[in-house]
Symmetry: C2
Subunit: 384 residues, 2 copies
């Protein structure tokens, strides 16, 4: 099976141009053609009308969508999430857990395993593994996590969960007891450690850094702020060039000026756009549950009763649009933040570029960043 995408506005890290063509065969990018090149035959030829064709998005931090939360721990929930994420251009997803009991975590991972083993998973985005956000966090920066289930880092629990379904990333507070060593233990398992809901000083972070931590989850939100007598975790993300940050660019969690500032100060190759979406994403305003806590969604902003933000309803295509509008940076630069950086930070090979040999995970968007079509391994899985 081969497909020739003609007349693309091709966008891949470091390159963008109109009237390009891309040949896909056997689920891989086979060849790229410049304007005027002689084009090959193909089973299917698709004229893209110079809409943007770019690598499918990788969302490494997403709790739910379309009314479902991954911690609902049902195959129905994970199937709905995996299928509906395609509509925002996501081709690879790390379903993300909340701070809940091990029983509930096990159930969620079991549902992911069952879904991936089923034929239904051929209709959704790829699920290479999960992201555990907590439960090993600092209650002082609890945000919209449930303090009742916070516990100390427990590598044995991670091993039990990883035996059910692959754990790709664990976000935790590195300053808690055993936190630094936990990074090393995760890395030894091939899992990416990341800081989240953390009250760490910069000295705490440097200790974690020495143990291999190179990621900060939802940068700025629920972490020690920049101060001139301790630069904290926000300072750590800005100071250490080789530290990746997740960034919620919904203009609510992070204001436009801060988006502009961080993109001005931080190498684009170390920023990962995430949704941090909860179940209300892709749904109308109303009341929704988040890990047992009631949230109120109004004009797309999800808040607890006390007014604190409780996850987002952001879609990745809109995150990219927001950053493009705020920063004015080239889209070929910004496209790094939607999949290429994630593939490096999480060791997801073959993902994040439109280049020969890469997976044919592709999203086609119009100039307003509306998703027109989403392909997984060269297969059309979503069409607007």
């Amino acid at each position: 099976m081969s497909i020739l995408f003609k007349n693309c506005y091709l966008v891949t890290p470091g390159f963008e141009n109109e009237n390009m063509s891309v040949l896909v065969a056997d689920g891989k990018i086979k060849q790229i053609f410049a304007p005027g090149d002689k084009l090959p035959e193909a089973d299917t030829v698709k004229d893209c009308n110079n809409n943007m064709l770019m690598p499918g998005f990788v969302d490494v931090h997403c709790h739910g969508r379309s009314g479902f939360d991954f911690c609902d721990a049902s195959v129905e929930a994970i199937a709905a999430i995996a299928e509906n994420k395609l509509a925002e251009g996501v081709t690879t997803l790390l379903p993300t857990t909340l701070t809940v009991s091990e029983e509930q975590l096990s159930g969620a991972l079991k549902s992911a395993a069952d879904y991936v083993a089923s034929n239904a998973s051929k209709k959704g985005c790829k699920l290479p593994g999960v992201h555990l956000e907590g439960p090993y966090i600092n209650t002082k920066l609890i945000g919209a996590q449930n303090p009742a289930f916070v516990r100390l880092p427990d590598i044995e629990e991670v091993k039990r969960l990883n035996a059910i379904f692959p754990v790709k990333k664990v976000s935790f507070a590195p300053e808690v007891e055993g936190g630094a060593e936990f990074s090393s233990a995760l890395l030894a398992m091939g899992i990416t450690p990341s800081a989240v809901h953390t009250n760490a000083t910069h000295a705490d972070f440097k200790n974690a850094y020495l143990h291999g931590m190179r990621n900060l989850s939802h940068f700025c939100n629920q972490m020690t702020p920049l101060h001139h007598r301790d630069i904290g975790m926000v300072g750590a993300g800005l100071l250490h060039d080789d530290v990746y940050i997740e960034f919620i660019c919904d203009k609510l969690h992070i204001c436009p000026d801060m988006i502009e500032l961080v993109f001005a100060l931080k190498d684009t190759e170390y920023i990962q756009l995430i949704s941090d979406a909860m179940r209300a994403s892709g749904m109308p305003d109303g009341e929704y549950d988040l890990g047992g806590m009631q949230t109120f969604v109004k004009a797309g902003a999800a808040r607890l009763a006390n007014g604190a933000l409780a996850g987002s309803t952001l879609q990745i295509c809109d995150a990219l649009k927001n950053v493009y509008m705020v920063t004015g940076l080239d889209i070929s630069e910004l496209v790094k933040t939607t999949s290429y950086n994630q593939s490096r930070a999480l060791n997801l090979p073959g993902i994040g570029k439109i280049e020969p040999g890469y997976c044919a995970d592709i999203v086609i968007l119009d100039e307003g960043f509306k998703v027109l079509e989403t392909y997984v391994d060269g297969e059309l899985r979503y069409k607007a």
Copy 2:
């Protein structure tokens, strides 16, 4: 009168090299000679033994030194400050006032005028004008200023003071009533407006920016911090490339990590090292007055009874050393922050470079940044 400085380790913005020679005549830099060049005759020949020779420092924010405060409003006080600043390499000083009554401000400026008109001023550093820090500040970020004398911006008061002695810089809170327009009014008088002790939002700052404000005094200290939902004044200093910041690099007001971070993120050409010194600078630990408030100096740190920092005891040669040790940047890059940037920010022509035509304001330091000699207009005014 000519002097030939031989065997200098010459440091000037963008250039440093050993075995250089500098010819000074009639108070100006006349010519620079590379190693091996044929050297001219001169009235005096001085072998610098490859100690560092660089532009004399410009301290634009200094309240006092050696037991005296500018607001003591006596010729004795300003004379002691102007002479003793030479020992730290300062050749140009803006004596800086505190938030006090107009009567006291007038007295301080009168003492400066009397001193400059007297022969005694031939023994000190240059005083092109003063810096008014307050009294137009925000009591919410009062720091070690006296709230009793805080008032709204008053351009008529500035005009009255400027008639006594030139006002070169006024630091105030731009968000207070009339604050933005005050910037324009100061600029119309040739005075540099700067933000200090300010609770301004980024929107407030942008309003002041449109009115011409391009300076932030003692950056980070007593101003709105960086937050991800309003980047505040700290964010403003990092976001706006053309905004100058004053920076107290004593490692107390600003921790070493923050010094490293700001030098990594901000163009060196927009950073001005200041002392923000109070009367205890150059004096032993003990109790000292600051604008009517008692301060306790211990191990060089000046604090109010409540523990808040109350000015510094920093000397500019040590500020430069601290930044050099923390950042590891070239000294030819850092030398911009001790005089060249100040000359641009405050329109002080002929100052800040060792290049033909510039004033022969020169400091010679050993490799430990100890000041050996200080020259003003080619005249030796300090020798260790």
